[in-house]
């Protein structure tokens, strides 16, 4: 009888330690959707590139602006979806959306990501276009690894995959779009689905 109580104690201690440091309401399905948005965006960019008759894409050209606009729309749509679905899941699990752990998660995710954003703006300014695709993957990967301490473990492996793809994209420059498809499209779908089946379907 006594033992059973102590066992219960230990279990409760472990639960509280996890609950108070990790935000677990992250929605796996929103990752899958983000991956799908990225794939749609990539297909659109690919058609833009095929339409483009000139041998390279100028910074001022309409095509370039369209590509940037596509990237921004995909990013915003993904963030919006993730936000809505995470709020929903948090409600279902009974976790508060704005608690200490979700704030900590966001801050730690944002630090590498904002650094990357500024880095990419500086690359654009110095007309160093070749490194943009790898840099987005690398910094996004680092952001995931950094944030993973405060949420589900799977985010860590997603981050590591993105970092590897980012490094490969530096080596094989010129195939940036394909690495984007792998990194932002396929990786999100695979890890999102994994997380969905592991945590959400209960």
């Amino acid at each position: 009888m006594e033992d059973k109580n102590y066992l219960q104690d230990l279990k409760e201690i472990k639960d509280l330690m996890n609950k108070s440091t990790q935000f677990i309401s992250l929605s796996g399905l929103s990752g899958v959707l983000a991956g799908i948005y990225a794939l749609i965006g990539a297909v659109y960019v690919q058609t833009l590139l095929l339409e483009n008759t000139e041998s390279y894409i100028a910074f001022e050209s309409m095509t370039f602006k369209k590509i940037i606009a596509t990237a921004v729309i995909v990013l915003l749509a993904s963030l919006f979806t993730a936000y809505v679905m995470t709020v929903n899941k948090a409600k279902k699990v009974g976790e508060n959306m704005w608690n200490t752990s979700s704030k900590r998660l966001l801050v730690n995710f944002a630090i590498p990501l904002v650094t990357g954003g500024i880095f990419i703006l500086l690359l654009l300014r110095h007309e160093n276009y070749g490194l943009i695709a790898p840099a987005t993957l690398l910094f996004y990967g680092l952001a995931c690894v950094n944030a993973s301490k405060y949420t589900l473990r799977d985010v860590r492996y997603l981050g590591i995959s993105e970092i590897i793809l980012g490094l490969l994209a530096v080596e094989f420059s010129g195939f940036g779009l394909y690495f984007w498809i792998l990194g932002f499209g396929i990786c999100h779908i695979v890890y999102g689905a994994m997380m969905h089946f592991k945590y959400d379907r209960k």
Partner: protein, 98 residues
């Protein structure tokens, strides 16, 4: 056997006190409302158990104002951390013995 029982700490012999310490072991500090939400207890209940831990010098209370709102936050002391670790070790030993 006597040694093990010795390390089972009376101060932690309650669900809520155990909970407060668990949260403070892995977080630098936690404020009143966070603890309340995590443990699912009432204000008065949490306050009295926090007071009990405070009087053992296992946690320290920091009161400050954030804007106009008073904010109470708790931190585990070194003594508290050590005592809690000993308590857990004792629990684990006890369980592995049986």
């Amino acid at each position: 056997m006597k040694n093990i029982i010795q390390n089972i700490n009376k101060a932690f012999d309650h669900r809520i006190r155990l909970g407060i310490m668990s949260v403070l072991m892995v977080n630098e500090s936690a404020d009143f409302s966070t603890l309340k939400e995590l443990l699912g207890v009432t204000d008065g209940n949490l306050a009295s158990h926090a007071k009990a831990l405070e009087s053992e010098n296992y946690i320290v209370v920091e009161k400050q104002f954030i804007g106009k709102k008073p904010n109470t936050s708790y931190k585990a002391t070194l003594d508290g951390r050590k005592a809690f670790q000993d308590h857990i070790n004792a629990l684990e030993k006890l369980l592995s013995k049986s």
